[in-house]
């Protein structure tokens, strides 16, 4: 099975996003030969990185799935937009980091999936410094 060519992009913006800003972007799934797309999930989420276990919360989630046995045709670009929340802001801490991203997961047959991410910054909190 060939891997589909997945394109995910965010509209150009100068500087970081602020709470309440509208996030706009689009995605496109180019299908090659026998690659079949069963479903597509688009999420806008934050997740933690660092020493602790990863936490994840979804701000926006949309799933497109074909009917039983059908194949999704996503060759035309799909645009999306949503308003960003007030918190949590992106944070580059010492042992806790909060990362925002748009994540596109394309589900293929036989339990395989292709994941594409576009990270972005929400807010302008400066990086933390280690003390002691």
């Amino acid at each position: 099975m060939n891997t589909p060519r997945v394109t995910l992009s965010l509209d150009a913006k100068a500087g970081p996003y602020q709470p309440g800003d509208v996030l706009r972007g689009q995605y496109e799934v180019g299908i090659l030969h026998s690659a079949e797309v069963k479903a597509v999930e688009l999420s806008v989420l934050w997740h933690t990185l660092g020493q602790g276990e990863e936490d994840l919360a979804v701000h926006f989630f949309e799933r497109l799935a074909g009917e039983e046995g059908d194949v999704l045709d996503l060759r035309a670009p799909h645009a999306f937009e949503m308003m960003l929340p007030n918190s949590p802001l992106s944070y580059d801490g010492v042992i806790v980091k909060i990362c925002w991203c748009v994540r596109l997961r394309v589900f293929l047959g036989r339990g395989k999936d292709v994941l594409t991410e576009r990270p972005f910054q929400l807010g302008a909190v400066p990086a933390a410094q280690m003390l002691e």
Binding site: S43, T48, E53, E54, L56, P88, G93, I95, G123
Partner: protein
Amino acid sequence: MARILRPYGKKRGERRTGSKRLGSYGEALFFLCVLAMGAAGLYVMLAEWILPEWRANQHFAEAECTVLGTRVGTRQVDNGIQYYPEVWIRYRAQSQQREAWTYKLAPVYVGDRPAAEALIEGFEVGQTYPCWYDPQNAERAVLVRQYTWWLWLLLVVPASFVILGSAGLVRALLHTSTSAERRAALVQRAAGLELFEDNQAMGERYPGIPRPSSINDSPGTHLAYRLPIDVSPGWKLLGVLLICLFWNGIVGLAIGGVVSDFVAGRGSWLAAAFLVPFAIVGMGFIVALVRQVLVTSGVGGVRLEVSDHPLVPGEAYTLFFSQSGRLRMNSLAILLVCEEEATYRQGTDTRTARQRVFEKQLYRRESFQVRPGMPFEDECELVVPEAAMHSFQSQHNEVKWELLVRGDVAGWPDYERRFSIVVYPQGARVAAV
């Protein structure tokens, strides 16, 4: 190849080794085994013991029988002989005269012969008694009907395996068949968080930030809100006391045993040397306990009040401070600190790492006295730096803002009290909270 087939995952700093998919399959297999064990145990208990006993009590037909004889049977088990009572009865069932050796539906095994004899001494040969037979198999009859209550209690064991296995299996299958984002969306929806609702309450419009309501519920006497203390010194004292009693109780018993061996002339210096490090740790606990007693009893209440809450970076607030008790203070300081907390698993342990990322002294006063009935009170300004990170709390990670009160008391152990505060992002409109 080893990387592809690695069957386990480990957290190494900021990354995790191993295959998540393989881990989920392994988890599903484990819970399937737990479920199968529970189901098998449940089936055996129900089919062999509980349902037959229930049928005997509910559906067996009553008849009259004559006792023809009694005996005590034996069987050999690993740790000796077990005895069981039997009564030979003649009864009429389904138009036929029948004879059987019986007592209860399942044999009653006891550890000694007199106990078994006591169970059948009420049945006299030649006398008639009620008995019950199985309408589906009239050759099966019992003289004594009753429920064995502990059998029903034992059901808890396989039932808990079934519940644990089913829940674990569903969770593992959900993990393999759905994405992390979809699971998170489902969980958030189930938790009643409206993802796309515009008109949410102020608290819900700041996801990931702890609700300030627990602090705002307590009004102050001088300023708007009184801050709750993180851990009360009384609870801390109780914790230290329990640990001290537990540790030193065990060590004391062990030392007592070694000393009595020496008194009896068969003491072992090796055993005594082995106990030394444990005794040293025990003494450390005693020192900690004495210190905590002094801090709890000697240092009076500490009270902090704030002019508004939650706090917003860059804005100025008034902080009121009160220290009661009878103290001669070398110094007293109030600090604003921000700490990151990360909880992670290491093997079977759950650990929490802390890292301080901000500390600023808001207030300091040296060489003064606190007299009973005349608490020391003062005010200072509280400003969270502009562009500082807001409070954040998720399941395993936290960014925590606190006010620390540090006291250096002359001739007394130093003390520290922590008060949590909630900081919102810069520019947040907190008036509506």
